[in-house]
């Protein structure tokens, strides 16, 4: 039995269909992240789970019970909002206890629950303060404390970190992950930040235009994307898309990439990655998807031992990030990004040889943007 199951949920706002037959299921203790660009329907889906927006069609089940038409209060869920939504007239203590008070939990138990979550989130010293007297990070903790106090079946997080500054965001991200590992709670988390999605999730649902494009583990979504949108959305810097021509014969394919002013580059397609779909695309254009880290600098000490084809090009921009260096170089009709080690002696304007790791490359159909291999 799933902790949360969504069956063919549809949601219309007037004549606009915001959710189009969305279905998914997660197990108890799972951390699901809904990710996608603004307007993809992820927040609407979350509000539908919370009961704040009635669905047009479909079913929502929590722990096997159909709760599609129950009020938010009857669903046994708690939510952390983007703006935190702390009650301004109440102290932190009253904020955390409010949900228990509404559920008629006796006062001693309420006090116990407040102490428990305050201890867990290290906000005991803030309990008598009003929300206006707290910093952004502290408000964030109180908002989580309010959700944790009730111990609901499912926690909903609606972009909880997007109002924090960069440093605090990374800290709180780790903290949320720790909390999840420690408490084993079931969490549905909405974000548009793909790094948050990759770092926190047990499973990621990538959404676009009211559809779930792909539902899978972070590894699947990152390394085995279903289409160009998912491939481009996950990962930063994003995946390079290079137009190439599929050549060779069935079972032994090559990709030919024409770069203006350069010799054409021919990359062999790994035999173990051949799919049936490729046969129909022979001598036609395809889109090669290469992540920046699949292009690496030549290591002189490993000369002749490294796998992969060499690519030589003139570097246009060098962007050191500290941990590694991002290079921009022309390939095909546009420019691509390569992520090389911090010691790479690359300089703008100079030619550089890079190894292309084709074992993790992916191929897409340029028309449908779907995956070919």
């Amino acid at each position: 039995m799933s902790a949360l199951e969504i069956r063919e949920v549809r949601k219309d706002f007037g004549s606009t269909r915001v959710l189009k037959d969305v279905s998914l299921a997660i197990d108890s203790g799972e951390f699901l992240i809904l990710v996608g660009p603004s307007g993809c329907g992820k927040s609407t889906l979350m509000n539908a789970i919370a009961g704040l927006e009635p669905v047009t069609d479909g079913q929502i089940l929590i722990g096997g019970d159909d709760i599609t038409w129950r009020t938010p209060a009857e669903r046994d869920i708690a939510m952390v909002f983007q703006s935190y939504a702390l009650y301004p007239s109440m102290t932190v203590r009253q904020n955390i206890a409010f949900g228990l008070e509404m559920r008629k939990v006796p006062k001693p138990e309420r006090e116990q629950a407040v102490e428990r979550v305050a201890d867990l989130l290290q906000i005991t010293h803030l309990l008598e303060r009003k929300p206006a007297q707290l910093s952004g990070g502290q408000r964030q903790r109180v908002a989580m404390g309010r959700a944790l106090a009730r111990e609901p079946q499912i926690y909903l997080f609606d972009e909880p970190l997007s109002n924090l500054d960069a440093k605090l965001r990374v800290e709180m991200r780790t903290e949320i992950k720790k909390l999840h590992q420690r408490l084993g709670t079931t969490i549905v988390y909405v974000t548009h930040d793909q790094i948050e999605a990759m770092t926190l999730a047990d499973s990621i649902a990538v959404m676009r235009d009211g559809h779930i494009l792909q539902l899978g583990s972070p590894d699947e979504v990152y390394n085995d994307p279903v289409d160009m949108f998912v491939a481009g959305f996950m990962g930063s810097p994003s995946m390079n898309f290079i137009t190439a021509t599929l050549e060779g014969q069935v079972g032994d394919y090559r990709l030919r990439i024409e770069t203006p002013g350069e010799e054409a580059l021919v990359l062999p397609w790994p035999g173990n990655r051949v799919t049936a779909a490729l046969a129909g695309r022979l001598n036609q254009p395809v889109v090669l998807g290469l992540r920046p880290e699949h292009l690496s600098e030549q290591d002189a000490r490993l000369e002749g031992q490294q796998e992969g084809t060499l690519l030589e090009a003139r570097v246009t921009v060098v962007e050191p990030t500290g941990a590694d260096i991002l290079l921009r170089l022309p390939l095909g009709e546009g420019e691509i990004t390569a992520r090389v080690g911090p010691k790479c002696p690359a300089a703008a304007g100079e030619r550089l040889a890079l190894r292309v790791d084709m074992s993790r490359a992916v191929l897409f159909d340029p028309d449908s943007e779907g995956r070919l291999a």
Partner: protein, 292 residues
């Protein structure tokens, strides 16, 4: 506030002096009618006839005030305006309270529990702010008759509540539209219902707009003459109507000092309310524009 730093030249000082002089003169001009009323109300009648308007009283007396409160003739009766003063309170207090509470609930429902057509409902209520009172005198008289409230204080309270709701709804709606709706969503998830959310979450942050609503309604209803004269009987008249009757009573000499004293009495409560809560009024009117 003048936050500009500039050198203090003689010319700047002169400009400043002229500025203050003009302001003081204008202030005095605006205060003059009040001053004349006050001076006239404590002069004996013969001094008013003899001296000028601005002359200070030679024998100040409170007798006109006492007469105005308890003895002056308003039409057929000679009981002063005191009784009508309390009449006004008996009308104003429930009318202000009810219209403020209803306006707050309307504003809350129109912003936090939107329903199909809620914007239309608001637009129609807003329309109520622009209806001239004279237009509804006859239908309202008819309605009060049907309800059995003709010439009663309750009837006047009803009329003022009905008219006040348009304004109070506008105030509260514009205030609550700036309160984040996520607060209401959070409270719903916490298990609170319509009234509980209003009482525990919205109302505690509504003090500024409650002050605005109360001052506005108090002033409007206290100063009302038209409804008061149209829908009241002798013993349910508000003080504005009594004041009119007192001033227009045509028997004997015109007792200007008594008239002025009665006018002061009639004006006093709104002045007191404004002086006590005026700064909150301004604060409340601008509350929505600044992020808390």
């Amino acid at each position: 506030m003048d936050n500009v730093i500039r050198r203090r030249t003689p010319g700047a000082r002169l400009a400043r002096a002229v500025l203050y002089a003009v302001l003081i003169v204008m202030g005095l001009v605006y205060l003059l009618p009040l001053l004349i009323m006050l001076l006239t109300s404590i002069k004996p009648l013969d001094e008013i006839g003899a001296g000028t308007l601005l002359a200070l009283p030679e024998n100040p007396t409170l007798a006109p005030w006492i007469t105005a409160w308890g003895e002056a003739c308003t039409g057929m009766r000679c009981e002063g305006v005191g009784g009508y003063f309390w009449n006004s309170f008996a009308i104003v207090i429930p009318a202000v309270a009810i219209s403020t509470v209803v306006g707050a609930l309307n504003g809350y429902a129109l912003t936090k529990w939107r329903f199909r057509g809620s914007e239309l409902v608001f637009a129609l209520m807003l329309f109520g702010c622009f209806i001239p009172f004279q237009v509804v005198l006859l239908p309202m008289a008819q309605t009060l008759g049907w309800l059995g409230l003709s010439s009663s204080r309750a009837g006047l309270v009803l009329v003022h509540v009905v008219f006040g709701i348009a304004f109070t709804t506008l105030f509260f709606r514009n205030f609550y539209v700036a309160v984040p709706s996520e607060l209401v969503s959070a409270a719903k998830l916490d298990g609170a219902g319509f009234f509980r959310i209003f009482w525990r979450i919205l109302l505690p942050v509504s003090a500024p707009i409650i002050v605005v609503s109360v001052i506005w309604q108090f002033t409007q209803i206290w100063n009302d003459f038209l409804f008061g004269v149209a829908f009241s009987a002798h013993d349910t008249q508000p003080v504005t109507v009594a004041l009119n009757n007192l001033v227009n009573t045509s028997t004997g000499v015109k007792e200007y000092n008594v008239n002025m004293a009665a006018a002061m009495i009639a004006a006093l409560p709104t002045l007191v309310v404004y002086v006590l809560a005026g700064k909150y009024f301004v604060r409340g009117l601008t509350a929505g524009s600044v992020k808390g």
